[in-house]
């Protein structure tokens, strides 16, 4: 137990990788063995994360600089003074839980993959390692390595197991994100060079305190900071994605295999938002404050235009993909407020907006978690229909509730979580964001007000999907597309969705268990 406690994060992060490596040794024809092995391996980090969650609750650590939870630190790259430094607070712990939860479910959904199963599963587990690494890293270089690492398996997953237009989508995905990463690498190096270390806890203390007038290799620190800030923002904005950097998302989501879309929407997008919270806000408080209104406008555009674009789709999966743009917009809107008030409330000395920012940021993190589970579930549901009908065209479906009653019930339930129905999870976080952002300033008031249009159209596209898939007279041609296979959901698929459905209800009815963890960290961050 002591060993586990001391090395918890290392174990959580690298067990998937070890499993992935072992999977490659599996003979290609033992498909079921590869599946079961991958599933079992992916359950270990989940079990560890749950254990960690319990430990965390018993002794929460909310200040990364003072004392991060499950901290580990070893010199890694002596010449660069970079450390293998891991640790979590309430925000990253929540994300770790999300990642370790979604991976086994995505693997369970991937049972229908028949082509090169062991390679597929290996890539999936490697992907999990990359994502987890980002959330637990407390060293900028390490952060970047994990950040990039996650891209590669996802590229192959889309490129090799995707649908018709996969070449275009995977290429767009990797080039776009790489373009963002370049700047990220550059600015991480800038910071490393200036600070003489990549250790995040140290940088968090010293970097923001650097006087803007002081010079660095002949350039004013203020300029360096501005450049580094924009490069950070660009990298994370592409990942979230913030409008107008979002057009890779519908393509990648639509073409990816089902489980790939689940993880893409469920976790990968959160990396961007996490980057904003973990790095941009603490490292660039001045710039974040100045940029906050712009970010809020972009968030508003994502919410409104994302909802409209989603409403315009006739492709089931694309419709769900665009809903991510819409939902992540709320996260970004809240982050803008956090930036406006500033870490430690430094731009709000009288504390007028302190509570507002705390509520909004809590909402942002909760929305990340909520969108993670409901988007994953939505993509899983889309994938199930696609498996059977081999089409995603909404106009070719209709009335399927008659032949797939359980599927229909689950889809309506999940859709409602995504729509933000009170009593389910999405509402709690959206309400917190609206509540937190609204009173901050007239600009933010206006942004919230316009965003409500997005909220309205969220309803419109969700109902559109339900109406086209489930409702109306049964379209026999759609049933014929399945070639005799039942359209009803099967037991394995129910098992894969059940944890998500339970969480949607649980968070909707009693969010305190989760918000309590997030809130402590967020409160400390902003006061």
């Amino acid at each position: 137990m002591v060993f586990i406690h001391q090395n918890l994060l290392t174990l959580i992060t690298f067990i998937p990788l070890a499993g992935g490596v072992l999977l490659l040794l599996f003979p290609g024809e033992r498909k079921n063995a590869a599946r079961w092995f991958a599933l079992v391996v992916s359950l270990i980090p989940l079990a560890l994360a749950l254990l960690g969650w319990m430990w965390f609750n018993a002794a929460p650590c909310n200040d990364l600089v003072q004392q991060a939870c499950f901290e580990q630190q070893t010199l890694w790259f002596p010449i660069l003074n970079s450390y293998y430094h891991l640790g979590v607070d309430g925000i990253s712990m929540t994300m770790v839980l999300l990642t370790t939860l979604l991976t086994p479910l995505a693997i369970l959904i991937s049972w229908s993959i028949e082509d090169r199963v062991n390679l597929y599963m290996a890539l999936f587990l490697t992907l999990e390692m990359g994502m987890l690494g980002v959330f637990v890293s407390l060293d900028l270089l390490l952060f970047f390595v994990f950040w990039e690492f996650g891209l590669v398996p996802m590229y192959f997953l889309i490129n090799m197991w995707g649908s018709a237009n996969r070449q275009y989508a995977s290429f767009k995905f990797i080039i776009y994100t790489m373009a963002g990463s370049l700047g990220l690498l550059l600015s991480i190096q800038l910071i490393g060079l200036t600070m003489g270390t990549f250790d995040l806890t140290e940088i968090m203390v010293r970097w923001p305190a650097l006087a803007p007038e002081s010079r660095l290799v002949g350039v004013a620190v203020g300029v360096v900071k501005n450049v580094a800030f924009w490069l950070f923002v660009l990298a994370f904005a592409i990942k979230v994605p913030v409008w107008p950097f979002h057009t890779w998302l519908p393509d990648a989501h639509t073409e990816a295999p089902t489980a790939g879309s689940m993880i893409l929407a469920g976790v990968l997008l959160k990396l961007g938002a996490y980057g904003f919270l973990r790095l941009v806000l603490p490292l660039f408080p001045v710039q974040a404050h100045n940029f906050a209104p712009v970010l809020a406008v972009l968030a508003m555009l994502a919410i409104v235009l994302g909802a409209f674009s989603s409403f315009a789709q006739t492709d089931f999966k694309r419709l769900v993909a665009y809903s991510s743009v819409n939902h992540m917009g709320w996260v970004v809107l809240a982050i803008a407020v956090a930036g406006w008030v500033g870490v430690g409330g430094q731009h709000d000395p009288e504390g007028i907006n302190q509570l507002n920012a705390i509520i909004a940021t809590n909402g942002a993190v909760l929305q990340m978690f909520n969108h993670g589970i409901s988007a994953a579930a939505m993509f899983a549901l889309v994938g199930m229909m696609y498996d059977r009908l081999h089409t995603r065209d909404l106009t070719q479906m209709g009335g399927l509730w008659l032949v797939a009653p359980v599927y229909g019930g689950i889809m309506i339930f999940t859709s409602m979580a995504s729509l933000g129905l009170p009593g389910l999870n999405g509402f709690v976080s959206e309400f917190m964001v609206v509540r937190g952002v609204w009173p901050v300033s007239p600009v933010f008031e206006l942004m919230v007000f316009i965003s409500l249009l997005g909220l309205l159209f969220t309803g419109a596209y969700i109902l559109k999907a339900i109406a086209h898939v489930l409702h109306g007279p049964l379209n026999r041609d759609a049933v014929a597309l399945a070639h005799g296979r039942s359209l009803e959901i099967n037991l394995r698929e129910v098992v894969a969705l059940a944890p998500l459905l339970v969480l949607m209800l649980l968070i909707g009815v009693f969010p305190a268990w989760l918000v309590g963890v997030i809130n402590q960290t967020v409160t400390l961050l902003l006061t």
Binding site: L17, V21, L24, L25, G28, Q72, T74, Y84, L119, A122, Y176, H246, T247, L305, F308, S309, F311, A312, Q313, L355, I359, N362, G399, W401, L402, V403, G409, L421, P422, G423, F431, M432, V434, R435, W438, P439, V448, F449, L452, L455, L456, F457, G459, L463, A467, H471, G472, P473, L474, N475, R476, D477, V479, A480, P511, A512, G516, N519, T523, T527
Partner: protein, 757 residues
């Protein structure tokens, strides 16, 4: 068990029933019926116990039954966190009286109503596969629009229906016991979902020969979206109130004098200087208006009223549930609940802007909807518009400050309107039954025969006497027949208040009251009076006790429920019925108990005259000389083009279609195609192509200039690499195995260095 715990338990049984039915018993209709009815009965019993406890509590207004938990831990302390809990104060107790009562009756009724019937559905697609139950026993016919249609068993999803109405009832009860605006909103929105699911319950239904008629599916979406327009504004109002006061708890915000005083500050201090319209708005007023927009959506007030009539596409028990007892009442309940906030800045004279808006919208809706109601053919549509109109009364009552009267009418209306809806359902069932019966006897019916069209009825009085008598009671209550009906007492109280405070509102409402009497009598005349106009009406029957029992129970309450609110000074009856106990009980909810308006004969007499006058005119036109077969509505001749205008609901549906629905669909397509695909992706593709172009120019340079010089060197390297080429087998497994081995090795080194070293 303490009362506090019991309050929590009130909404629980139906919510559990929802899950139990959907998860376990959905395959068995009978058990599902039992589960849902048992759950609501249990809730009713608990509510009665709580109600008795509440009535026995000394000064319930000051000592309400409260329980709370921390729902959202926010910030550093419990102070800044969000709590949630249950509250029963006098107003809540009123809700606990009529909501479980009507819900129970509706549940029992539903088990009967949903047990028979068929409707038309379309056979879509060319494929022939195994049949999907829908058309096993039914032949396929082709209608005028060229669609292939077949009959569908309306009872197929009965278990699901019982589950949905259970959830619905649970949500309404959550709303009734909510101690904060947020929990109220939770119940409010879940009801919105249920109404969507229930209105569109027969989602695969189509109407033969009427391809453009609103189907249940479209009606459900319309209801959800229209109410959502109101809901997003309401959400904003909630967020605003929360950010100003730091809490959403009713007692901490609404019943705290300091808090209300703080909310009297102008909402737009700077903006108000340039925009005079905003100048007089206090924070409280602005929040009230935002919340009121929520009510406008939910209680179907003008201009968001269009969803409610279409919502009649749902099975009739749903209409009784949504459009009488629960959901639409929720909107008015919200207003009554928020009364202290709405009336901030009102000191007995000179209404603040928010109250003016509310009174104006309410009064206008009351009259507006009543005019539409007089020209409807569908038995349920008459009631639908009547509901909108009656809700307008209550909204107007809140707007003019008649707090108690609004609550009183809310209660009586829920009872008699549920009764009327269920009565109309019984009528529809009887006519459908008659149609089937006559069909078997060889009478031919067109495929678009409408069992809800009152012109296809007539003479039902002797066929379904229980329904007829109870419907009469409900109708009289609705039109406010003097002294014996509940509706008289509650409506009279609103009118008396209006007479005293806002004469304009009084006259508008009085005109609406006249129309109410008229359309009620028209409906009764067309449905029950005279001789049957079709074979279906001739053979109509309905003898299901599950449907008749609720009618009788509600008819009794439709009479007696009014006696709790008779004005103290009303001659004879005032003393007889305990001197207006309703007023004394409910008024404690407020900080300052509202004064009882002095008894005045003028409004009472005026309201009697208009109500009885309306009934009399209706009687003269439709009952004294009942309509013959094929005869047009006599009103058509009198009103001329106005009749067409009323019949078509002032063309609001068409207007909204052109003004909102089509433009937003167009806008959505443009945003996707022009902005995303065209501009953003266009730019990306341009960058990609330019880069590619540059890359090729570079390649040309490399091959043409650089390579030639290096070629000789390359050849040397090429030979050397020949010996390595076997590594490059092109088999990805092999590559990865090598990588894997490397990684494992590295990991081993790594672990050794980190932990064992």
């Amino acid at each position: 068990m303490t009362l506090e715990t019991l309050v929590w338990l009130i909404p629980l049984p139906p919510l559990l029933a929802f899950f139990v039915i959907l998860l376990f018993t959905r395959g068995n209709k009978r058990i599902s019926d039992l589960v849902s009815v048992a759950s609501i009965l249990l809730t009713w019993v608990i509510s009665i116990i709580v109600l008795i406890g509440a009535l026995g509590t000394f000064h319930l207004g000051e000592n309400p039954i409260i329980t709370q938990i921390v729902w959202l831990p926010l910030g550093e302390s419990v102070e800044t966190s969000l709590t949630m809990g249950a509250l029963v104060d006098p107003l809540g107790a009123v809700m606990l009286f009529f909501v479980p009562l009507t819900a129970t009756m509706i549940f029992i009724y539903s088990t009967g109503y949903m047990a028979s019937g068929h409707y038309w559905t379309e056979v879509k697609g060319e494929a022939h596969g195994e049949d999907h139950e829908s058309d096993e026993h039914h032949e396929v016919v082709v209608d005028d629009a060229g669609r292939k249609l077949t009959q569908f068993d309306a009872t197929k999803w009965k278990a699901r229906f019982m589950a949905f109405i259970s959830l619905f009832a649970g949500a309404m009860l959550i709303l009734s016991i909510a101690d904060s605006l947020l929990l109220l909103f939770v119940g409010w929105e879940i009801m919105g979902l249920c109404s969507y699911l229930l209105i569109g319950f027969w989602h695969n239904r189509v109407y033969p020969n009427q391809p453009n008629r609103t189907t249940p599916l479209k009606a459900g979406i319309k209801a959800f979206m229209t109410t959502r327009v109101g809901d997003v504004f309401m959400l904003l109002g909630i967020a605003w109130l929360y950010s100003v006061t730091g809490t959403l708890n009713f007692r901490e915000t609404l019943y705290s004098g300091e808090m209300l005083l703080a909310l009297e500050a102008p909402a737009f201090p700077t903006l108000g200087q340039s925009v005079p319209l905003l100048a007089g708005l206090s924070i409280a007023g602005s929040i009230s208006i935002l919340l009121f927009i929520g009510t406008v959506g939910k209680s179907a007030q003008f201009p968001l009223h269009t969803w409610l009539p279409d919502a009649m596409e749902g099975p009739t028990p749903v209409s009784a549930m949504i459009h009488a007892a629960t959901m639409v009442s929720a909107g008015v309940y919200l207003l009554i609940r928020m009364f202290p906030l709405i009336t901030v800045g009102w000191h007995g004279h000179g209404y603040p802007p928010a109250m003016k808006v509310i009174a104006g919208v309410g009064a206008f809706t009351a009259l507006f909807a009543a005019t539409i109601s007089i020209a409807q053919r569908d038995v349920k549509k008459v009631l639908a518009y009547s509901t909108i109109s009656q809700l307008g009364y209550m909204v107007a009552a809140v707007g003019i400050g008649a707090y108690i009267a609004a609550a009183f009418h809310l209660m009586t209306h829920a009872i008699f309107k549920a009764l009327l809806f269920m009565g109309s359902g019984s009528v529809i069932h009887a006519v459908e039954h008659g149609e089937q019966h006559a069909h078997h006897e060889g009478h031919h019916f067109p495929i678009d025969f409408d069992a809800q069209d009152m012109f296809n009825m007539g003479g039902l009085w002797s066929r379904i006497p229980v329904t007829a008598w109870t419907f009469l009671v409900g109708g009289m209550a609705l039109s406010g027949f003097p002294l014996i009906t509940a509706g008289f007492w509650s409506k009279d109280e609103i009118l008396a208040d209006a007479w005293l405070h806002a004469p304009v509102v009084f006259f508008v409402l009085a005109a609406a009251a006249f129309l109410t009497g008229f359309y009620t009598m028209r409906q009764i005349g067309l449905t029950f009076a005279g001789k049957p106009r079709t074979h279906a009406a001739e053979e109509a029957t309905q003898r299901d006790w599950r449907m008749n029992l609720p009618l009788i129970v509600l008819a009794v309450f439709g009479v007696v429920a009014g006696y709790v609110g008779v004005h103290e000074d009303f001659p004879l009856l005032g003393r007889l019925f305990g001197g207006n106990p309703f007023h004394h009980f409910v008024s404690q909810t407020l900080l300052e108990s509202p004064e009882v308006a002095l008894f005045d004969w003028t409004p009472v007499l005026l309201s009697v005259i208009v109500a009885v006058g309306g009934l009399l005119v209706g009687w003269l036109v439709y009952v004294r000389r009942p309509l013959e077969v094929g005869e047009a509505d006599p009103l058509k001749k009198v009103l001329g083009p106005l009749y067409t205008l009323f019949e078509n609901k002032y063309y609001f549906d068409e207007l909204y279609e052109v003004a909102f629905i089509r433009p937003s669909q167009w806008l959505a397509r443009q945003i996707y195609e022009v902005i995303d695909r065209g501009m953003i992706d266009g730019l990306l593709h341009f960058i990609a192509r330019s880069t590619e172009w540059w890359a090729f120019r570079n390649k040309d340079f490399d091959t043409g200039v650089v390579n030639r010089g290096v070629d000789s060197m390359a050849e040397g390297i090429g030979e050397a690499s020949d010996s390595f080429k076997y590594v490059q087998s092109g088999r990805i497994q092999q590559y990865l195995a090598v990588v894997a081995a490397g990684v494992l090795m590295l990991a081993a080194v790594f672990i050794w260095a980190l932990f064992l070293h």
